[in-house]
Amino acid sequence: MATTAAPTGGARNGAGPEWGGFEENIQVMGGGSAVIDMENMDDTSGSSFEDMGELHQRLREEEVDADAAAAEEEDGEFLGMKGFKGQLSRQVADQVSCPGRNQMGSRQASRAFSLYANIDILRPYFDVEPAQVRSRLLESMIPIKMVNFPQKIAGELYGPLMLVFTLVAILLHGMKTSDTIIREGTLMGTAIGTCFGYWLGVSSFIYFLAYLCNAQITMLQMLALLGYGLFGHCIVLFITYNIHLHALFYLFWLLVGGLSTMRMVAVLVSRTVGPTQRLLLCGTLAALHMLFLLYLHFAYHKVVEGILDTLEGPNIPPIQRVPRDIPAMLPAARLPTTMLNATAKAIAVTLQSH
């Protein structure tokens, strides 16, 4: 369990010089530097709130999931607690060795610089296996009904980051058409800005609301939760960008989008106390998440439809958003320029309406 790992680690560490054992263990772990991210402690700090939730969740989950969760929790806590012990002992050693002079200032300054200049600060968040990523992706679509004890959120950034990039790629793919003039620059920048802006912006906003509502969630956990919630969005958009049926989209929006939203809502409810706070937090998140999927489908779909209708003519029942003035009979030579004008007008109107 979590509490037994720390004392054994501490006992092993205390034998040799404090800083020596600490560095040796870090090297064994991954060959990274000895920089420790203090925030990582927050997720594995083993407060009684988290521990009770751990226990009950483990009792109800299946064996495989429980093993995976336990192994990861132990590893994480191993790193966090040991690192904290090592760093604390190093600071104590500093003060003991030079009682007349305070080395803490220069040491902290150099450590702070190396902390920010070092990408190893992010290394613990990328410590995942493919099987873990796969199981977390599947779990993000399954809402868990247990809301009396806090549900565990995996604090990793690899899955969410890859899902945001995948969403960008799907948005770009959804805008492909043949023989059209697309302003690739604007669309690509918009896609990247939209996806990252949503992930980072909404995570920060919900984290702020969680702070107001006294919910037990850290920023990293919120980023991970929302990132994995984008998996549903990716599925829905990938399917509906290839099959242009509005009824199908609404069905998927409710089903798939609803499932991933319910999952996030259940996790947040399990970590919040009080009905008003739960309602505020979860209502905001559900509204933003579902509305984002609507926006992605219709805002970008509008651009695609405008272009498609311009090209394919009146055969397909169009949704009239832009007045088209392509006459039916037209000499072949003038057709490209006319279509060009109509397409440019469609794009201009769409971009103006944003």
């Binding site: 968040y125 990328f126 410590d127 990039f165 960008v168 790629a169 793919h173 043949s178 690739e184």
Partner: protein, 236 residues
């Protein structure tokens, strides 16, 4: 104390110096293990090497670099497990490929005043920031490849997609149409697969074996975005 022999190829040295003369005032603590080779630098040979690359003609310098780039292109076109790209990495090839791709992706149309500029910058930014992101990701996953080696491999593996861009531009000269689009789609898909196979052949060994899929997936996304840019390009 032992005396050093006269170094060969150095006619100017008059008297031999005692061995390790300059090292007697260095104190080595017992804890730090001394590893590696201890060689006495032969100054004359280094001087000769420096002047040999300084005094050579510009033509031979450029040809040497171009030959190195060309050799790496061959390694990308016929990918097999080798570490030529990793051992002598250079960023000339990625720069040439990126500039070529960005120039070809510019539109020739004169109707819009904002053309040309944003396209070039867009491609540049996407290629280089995408490569940097993938490199950071593979390092964070525990890969033991250096930053510039990874940039070098990812940049060189854009070569098949640049070839696809050339072919697409030639095919587009025939005029738009569904057949045209299918041909371009087929070419781009084949080159996209080739890029991924090539980059995987070089990068796979540097990752821990159970995390290769995690490191290859962003490469897939990166080349997908570039392929999308190539496929949807129409010079009107």
């Amino acid at each position: 104390m032992a005396e050093a022999e006269e170094s060969p190829g150095d006619p100017g040295t008059a008297s031999p110096r005692p061995l390790f003369a300059g090292l007697s005032d260095i104190s080595i603590s017992q804890d730090i293990p001394v590893e590696g080779e201890i060689t006495i630098p032969i100054r004359s040979r280094i001087r000769e090497f420096d002047s040999s690359t300084l005094n050579e003609s510009v033509h031979s310098t450029i040809m040497r670099d171009l030959k190195a780039v060309g050799k790496k292109f061959m390694h990308v076109l016929y990918p097999r497990k080798s570490n030529t790209l990793l051992r002598d990495w250079d960023l000339w090839g990625p720069l040439i490929l990126c500039v070529t791709l960005a120039l070809m992706l510019q539109r020739d149309s004169a109707d819009s005043e904002k053309d040309g500029g944003p396209q070039f910058a867009e491609v540049f930014v996407i290629v280089w920031f995408g490569a940097v992101t993938i490199t950071l990701n593979s390092k964070l996953l525990g890969g033991n490849i250096s930053f510039f080696q990874s940039l070098c491999v990812l940049g060189y593996c854009i070569l098949p997609l640049t070839v696809a861009m050339l072919i697409c531009r030639l095919v587009l000269l025939a005029g738009p149409g569904p057949v045209n689009f299918m041909v371009r789609l087929f070419v781009v898909i084949v080159m996209f697969a080739w890029s991924i196979v090539a980059s995987t052949a070089f990068l796979a060994d540097s990752q821990p074996p159970n995390r290769r899929a995690l490191a290859v997936y962003p490469v897939f996304l990166f080349y997908f975005v570039i392929s999308w840019m190539i496929l949807t390009f129409t010079p009107q």
